[in-house]
Amino acid sequence: MTRLSFPACTVLALITCVLLALLWPPSPANANQPDDRFETVVSGLSVKNFKKKSIAVERLVSSGDPRTVPVLQAMLKGQLFYIKSGKRMVYGSATDDGYRVTTVVGGEVLGEMGKRAIKKVSVNNRIRKQLRSAIARLSLADPDPEVRLDAARELLRNLTPEAAELVRSAVVDEPRDKVRAVLETGLAILNLDSGDQAEQLAAIASLDGSLVPEARNRLSLLVEETDDETLRSAALASLKGIESTLRWNRTAETVFFGISLGSVLLLAAIGLSITFGVMGVINMAHGELIMLGAYTTYVVQLLMPNHIGLSVLVAIPAAFCVSGLFGIVIERGIIRFLYGRPLETLLATFGISLILQQLVRTIFSPLNRAVSTPPWMSGSLEINGALSLTYNRLYIIVFSLMAFLFLLVILKRTALGLQVRAVTQNRQMARAMGVRTGRVDALTFGLGSGIAGVAGVALSQLTNVGPNLGQTYIIDSFMVVVFGGVGNLWGTLVAAMSLGVANKLAEPWAGAVLAKILILVFIILFIQRRPRGLFPQKGRSAEH
């Protein structure tokens, strides 16, 4: 290669410049025109009336401007605002006492603005639906396959005639199999109404085993409406296949629901299986120790408002300590004087439970407190179109099993556990061997209470954090421990899981109220036959 001489180089540069200038977007003078139009269309969104707003959205969508999708998305998320004076549209993200504001057109950063200076572009359900389907239609050609997949799924839920055209054209160009499969399902659903028998039969065949609710609805509609026998029998066969797959999925779902209810019962009861099962203390304040754990989660979240995900993890040891300390104080202060007097213990701990309830009412107000759920705990894990498992339940199942193993290890593998077992089996002998029984009692009670507090952290993600939280779970906890066999951790696990699954199996045909009653009746009958529960404690300790 010969080196280019200097002038030749300049000429090349010049040509590039000209070429670039030709390729570059129009000069600023020309660019102003669409910018203005876009701005007027966008500022049309600031109207108050929802019907007019809906028209404004339609106008924006049909403008075809590439900047439309972010605007629609911001509107959907409630991040689109307008400045009250001048109606300029802006994006806002919340800060401590106002919003950080950026203009929609031009992306100019305007800094922070007070809550009174700007107003949110509010949406209702109808507009939300319109936005979602518009975003889906506009992002069907997005370069990101994940975005295309979401868009295709959204379109499938709402197959309007305008979407049909899009699906038809998009399915041809789609490179990813996963996205194309969704689009093809959509196409098949559309072809069900095409009127051409061969096409309809092909569509029915391709929808066989599809778990998309829309497919099933259209198929059953076809069965009802068509006069063509071949079509009807094909559709019926296809429907039958879908129904049987669905039935399997529903059974799996019910079992999952049962296990997840069982894991909640396990969490609530496992602390009690220590205090009641191992120590024999009827602790009516157990529910309130759970409640304290839940309130600890709330306080931890107040202390670290910007780390919701982390705060839940921090709350676990914090709740263990808070509830554990309360437990130790209760044991040392009251219960220790009442050993061997179950009725008095019951009354005293019931009193404590009322005191604790009123205590949180006074400190935190009688209203429920809001505990936020971290993003990784919301939503669900989709197994297939008909079966999805919610993340919060999955985490709680794992968490309850971990708590169970933790307790098991402490009782079976540590010095404290050895002492606890020694004291429960024969207090006099243990003391004679040099075990400080008073200290062991306090620590055991603290351990059981601490686990109750940890249960409170988990429950704060499922239900209300309020003064009555504990009352809801105390009956269930006793039920599980008694059913499983007093003093047996494995019994508690089996009892919690079987009660959970039994409850969920009974619920669909008996209703929630009757299912609960049936379970209680079952346990009463069971205890009549086997007063010591599923796994009775063997050996000398059982005889005292």
Binding site: F50, G78, S122, N124, N125, R128, K129, R132, P213, E214, R216, N217, R218, L221, E253, T254, F257, S260, L261, V264, Q358, R361, P366, L367, N368, R369, A370, V371, S372, T373, S378, G379, S380, S388, T390, Y391, N392, R393, L462, T463, N464, G466, P467, N468, Q471, T472, N503, K504, E507, P508, G511, A512, V513, K516
Partner: protein
């Protein structure tokens, strides 16, 4: 009464020390009561009883109403009282215990000699105090939405009856949202059962098939909604627009909405319209999963009117917390109090019979910019608002009735109560007059 208490105390304690303390305490109490009544008589006050639970499960809702009454009394006193007399609040705590409501009501009327009582939340507490108010002929202002099917001479119902909340909400869903399939979900007690009975009859009258209605009841404080939400999802996936009409009671709502959101049901797919979820309940939870779901009430804090702005401002000043919200039962308390004050001025006395007569036809401005009038059946005229829940826990109106709706004591859709009307004016003077038989059964509840 006092001496008998004392004897009981003596017998129970059995210790000399305790007896002495008991006597001392009783003596002091007696002296202070005497002193107090002397002062009270000298200043000539009007006593207002407040019968709301301050402890127990219902404290969550009722404490706010106690504060509202106290605020109204404070305002009235600052404006010169009623007929030149100062108002004095007598607050008792029935502790969410239904029989205790009756005892405390009796105590307020007989011992504390109050002229009027503002109180109760749950229907069962109202039913418990009703005989007491009728026996002692005193007045109760009841500020909460309820199932109807009742009209007592001694009670003024300032909350909504089903035709002012549930029925218009169903109308809205049917006509504006085009809902074809209905889930009626409620907690298992009297208000949801009666409301759902009315709604079921109403829907069937509108031509909805039974197979398109699903009714579900759950126990109080139900927290495991997995299978019910899965059922609702299944019920709603049949290709027809589905909505849930929820009479689920306060505490069970949070897990219900969380489960809906987690199972991927958004308000656009299956909207839930609730009759027991208001600003106060929303302030206690993360509103994110609820956005877009609906509530039907007669007042929202977000309503833009001068009266509402003043009310919110004075509430924040009274409660010394800018974050506290206002809600529908507070507005009902406000209207009830204003009406009572006006009726006492009109009657020139606080005597129950005279105030009862004066109450009917009294009009006061409500907080949404309209007028509330007390009807002859002791119910109010109210606008009905349907709102969508926002992420900040406020509810924004998306639809409202063009005019105010007159509260029905007896539903037009239930077979037993279709023919009943209530009119406490002379000459009818009856809470349940049967227009077919022309008889007044005399039993008001």
């Amino acid at each position: 009464m006092k001496s008998r208490d004392n004897h009981v105390q003596e017998a129970a304690s059995g210790s000399a020390l305790f007896t002495r303390i008991g006597r001392l305490a009783a003596g002091a109490a007696l002296a202070s009561t005497l002193l107090f009544s002397a002062v009270a008589q000298a200043a000539d006050t009007i006593k207002v009883g407040v019968l709301h639970s301050l402890s127990g499960t219902m404290a969550i809702s009722e404490t706010t109403l106690k504060d509202t009454v106290l605020m109204m009394i404070d305002q009235q006193n600052k404006a010169g009282g009623i007929m030149g007399k100062r108002l004095e609040a007598v607050v008792v705590d029935p502790a969410s215990n239904w029989p205790l409501f009756a005892e405390k009501a009796r105590e307020l009327i007989e011992k504390k000699k109050v002229d009027v009582v503002f109180g109760c939340w749950t229907s069962v507490s109202r039913k418990s105090v009703l005989p007491v108010f009728e026996e002692l002929n005193s007045l109760l202002f009841y500020p909460v939405q309820y199932e109807g099917e009742e009209s007592s001479k001694n009670v003024f119902y300032t909350g909504a009856s089903p035709n002012q909340q549930a029925v218009p909400a169903v109308d809205y869903l049917m006509n504006e949202v085009d809902v074809k399939r209905w889930v009626l979900a409620g907690t298992d007690y009297v208000y949801p059962r009666t409301t759902n009975k009315i709604l079921e009859a109403y829907l069937k009258a509108k031509g909805v098939k039974s197979s398109d209605i699903m009714i579900n009841y759950t126990p109080f404080g139900h927290s495991d909604w997995q299978s019910i939400v899965a059922d609702i999802k299944k019920f709603g996936s049949k290709g027809k627009k589905t909505a849930v009409v929820s009479t689920i009671n306060g505490d069970a709502n949070v897990p219900f909405y969380k489960e809906l959101a987690n199972q991927g049901i958004s308000a656009e797919d299956i909207p839930v319209v609730a009759f027991s979820v208001g600003e106060e309940e929303l302030s206690g939870l993360d509103a994110e999963p609820l956005v877009g779901h609906m509530a039907a009430w007669n007042y929202f804090m977000s309503e833009e009117s001068d009266a509402n702005e003043d009310f919110i401002k004075s509430w924040h000043k009274f409660i010394k917390n800018k974050k506290r919200v206002t809600n529908d039962p507070m507005e009902a308390t406000y209207i009830g109090f204003k009406m009572w004050a006006k009726a006492v001025e009109k009657a020139g006395t606080t005597k129950a019979d005279a105030v009862q007569k004066a109450m009917i036809g009294i009009s006061v401005p409500n907080l949404t910019g309209g007028i509330a009038t007390m009807m002859p059946n002791h119910h109010l005229t109210k606008p009905v608002l349907i709102g969508e829940i926002q992420d900040d826990g406020q509810i924004e109106t998306v639809w409202q009735t063009p005019d105010t709706v007159v509260g029905d004591a007896w539903s037009d859709y239930l077979p037993g109560s279709k023919d009943l009307i209530s009119d406490w004016r002379d000459p009818l003077h009856c809470g349940n007059y049967n227009v077919k038989t022309g008889k007044c059964s005399g039993q008001n509840f």
